[in-house]
Assembly symmetry: C2
Homo-oligomer: 204 residues x 2
């Protein structure tokens, strides 16, 4: 899997979930399908009067989530910015051309209440629970950054093997220290809780 | 439409999007299908080692989003709380019994790394973009509260009819003052932006 394939999968899913943080600090989510895809960016349309638009203009932080027909989860973490004023009309028209149903929602000139945001720098997480062991990987596009997640085993490890026994995905291998196969790890925390010498630490 | 029907529709969708606010203030979302439904509550399973669990234990704020096969959006805003310690095992076993695939992810006793949260007091928003005019309604369950959203026309209205002309969903009707049919309003903000006397206000 790679970032480009993930973007293509998002496009196949079509209706994606866009999460933001409300101005009151609460989680906010909505379904968006008014999206134009390129090989390295994602443009989406919303209306200036929506809370969603205010939240994006506030800090741009957005997480885009999709669940594919193959039971894969794809999650994009990014900062959305409005496309430059001079390009707004062209972008709106492009999205409406690609998705004619939008003209039923915003007929005629009413599409001008819309605003198009673009997402370029992305962290893309791919997560598949339907294979055994489960599989996850992270990719970046543009200036997107990896964020450490999950658990690792430190030099405190005494090699007792407890973590191997209790890992639901059997993703821990013996060694000095023992090693977690990150691509198969659920991040469930069982090794972290059960290690008798606290040799498992959470990545931050 | 009503709250009970919305819950049934969520159950039909199966895999729902759960949004929270990360401890760093960023939006966080993931797909969850390990859910048990009753007529007035929703129980869901996650693992104690996941960021999701930490976020829920922090303030419990969650928004649950689904897109149905009939192109309806259903959004639940709620506070999730862990079920009492004495009921955890029963709840976990119930969810694993209803969804046998979970035993592939957490085989044997490893399910004990799980924790079940319950959501009882909900605001449920129903939004259908596929009908004309579009349709939205809000319901509550338990102690869930309505939150004012969208726009309304105040006594400043001079009856010029501009808002009627430019509403994408033609949901404004003449009157003193003119009136927005809230159940058909996109919340796009076009009337708010174009009213010549600023008679349209945002509900807060």
């Amino acid at each position: 899997m790679d970032a480009q394939t993930c973007l293509k999968k998002l496009q196949c899913v079509g209706v994606l979930n866009f999460s933001t943080v409300g101005l009151d600090g609460t989680p906010q989510a909505r379904c968006i399908s008014a999206i134009h895809y390129t090989s390295d960016a994602l443009y989406f349309f919303t209306a200036r009067g929506k809370e969603f638009c205010r939240e994006l203009l506030h800090d741009g932080q957005v997480q885009i989530l999709a669940y594919t027909r193959y039971k894969e989860m794809i999650r994009v973490s990014a900062k959305a910015v409005p496309v430059p004023e001079a390009e707004q009309k062209r972008c709106i028209d492009l999205i409406f051309q690609e998705q004619p149903y939008l003209s039923n929602v915003y007929p005629g000139a009413t599409r001008e209440i819309g605003i198009v945001f673009v997402v370029r720098d992305m962290r893309i997480e791919y997560f598949h629970l339907g294979v055994k062991p489960i599989f996850r990987e992270t990719y970046t596009l543009g200036k997107g950054k990896h964020t450490p997640k999950g658990y690792e085993i430190t030099g405190e490890c005494i090699g007792c093997g407890k973590c191997v026994q209790i890992c639901p995905q059997q993703c821990v291998a013996p060694g000095t220290p023992y090693h977690i196969a990150q691509e198969h790890c659920l991040h469930c925390g069982n090794c972290f809780e059960q290690c008798p010498v606290q040799a498992v630490t959470k990545k931050t």
